[in-house]
């Protein structure tokens, strides 16, 4: 995750790799379920399982709903911003509103085993791979 020091070629290659990965990745396919682009999601592999890390700063835990069904995970909720009364606003960059996004997973998962952790505005979803989907080593007899 750390960026390296000044190497313009590295920056270009990283961009190219990122673009290729986006097209080649089957994580966010052309499924009909996918809607909305908020919140941004990063997906990591950890051992056999997967971890989705979602940035949701300013969203209250109680305004967040997560549903898992077969191999889709739906994240929805709302983000509200309250300015005090009689406040004069100098700068407004943060945005509020509703969001609804569905993540379809290209592997078989254990929907009952999904764990969610929300801390400091970051949601971590631990997605366990179904036992039947894990690679097995086969011994030659």
């Amino acid at each position: 995750m750390l960026a390296s020091f000044n190497d313009p070629f590295e920056a270009l290659f990283a961009l190219q790799r990122a673009l290729d990965a986006r097209v080649a990745s089957d994580w966010m396919g052309h499924g009909t379920a996918a809607s909305g682009s908020f919140p941004p999601i990063n997906i990591f592999q950890k051992g056999d399982d997967f971890v989705a890390i979602v940035e949701l700063s300013g969203v209250d835990k109680n305004d967040l709903e997560i549903e898992a069904k077969e191999n889709t995970i739906r994240i929805r909720g709302k983000k509200t911003i309250a300015y005090g009364e009689q406040a004069s606003v100098h700068r407004r960059e943060r945005i509020s509103g509703v969001f609804d996004r569905t993540l379809s997973v290209p592997i078989r998962i254990e929907p009952n085993g999904i764990k969610a952790e929300y801390r400091d505005g970051v949601l971590a979803l631990f997605i366990p791979r179904a036992e039947a989907d894990k690679p097995r080593s086969i011994k030659v007899g």
Binding site: I43, L56, S57, S88, R91, F99
Partner: protein, 132 residues
């Protein structure tokens, strides 16, 4: 929910530093709201993933600086398979025009949002003037 606006992703902007950094980490500019009441100036910054103990705020020469650091240790042993956003530290500073009572600055952190309350110094507070 026809009246509710759908949220859009806000691209992270990288901070333009005056001096070169000694560590090769990325620094982003957090999106910020600033509003003022008669009592105080409030700065609200979004720093998702920053722990409450990793925030530093200071006021010097009428410039308020807020820095938030990410703990990269959480990403150890994880291979990215699909990414939509970058992860890095956050830093931003603002020139403030009002006189601030430096001793009374307070900060609060909730759900990745830092709220910094900068109370105005006594002489800077608004006074009502009676017309005789």
């Amino acid at each position: 929910m026809a009246d509710a606006q759908e949220l859009q992703v806000q691209q992270k902007r990288e901070l333009e530093k005056k001096a070169e950094a000694t560590t090769p980490a990325r620094v982003f500019v957090p999106v910020t709201d600033i509003f003022e009441t008669t009592q105080a100036l409030t700065v609200v910054l979004e720093m998702p993933g920053v722990d409450r103990n990793s925030i530093e705020a200071s006021v010097e020469n009428d410039v308020v600086t807020i820095e938030g650091r990410i703990d990269f240790a959480k990403y150890e042993g994880m291979q990215p398979v699909y990414t939509e956003y970058n992860v890095g530290h956050y830093a931003r500073s603002f020139q403030i025009s009002n006189k601030i009572d430096q001793g009374k600055i307070s900060a609060e952190m909730k759900d990745g949002v830092v709220t910094l309350v900068l109370p105005k110094a006594e002489q800077a507070k608004q006074r009502k003037i009676q017309v005789s």
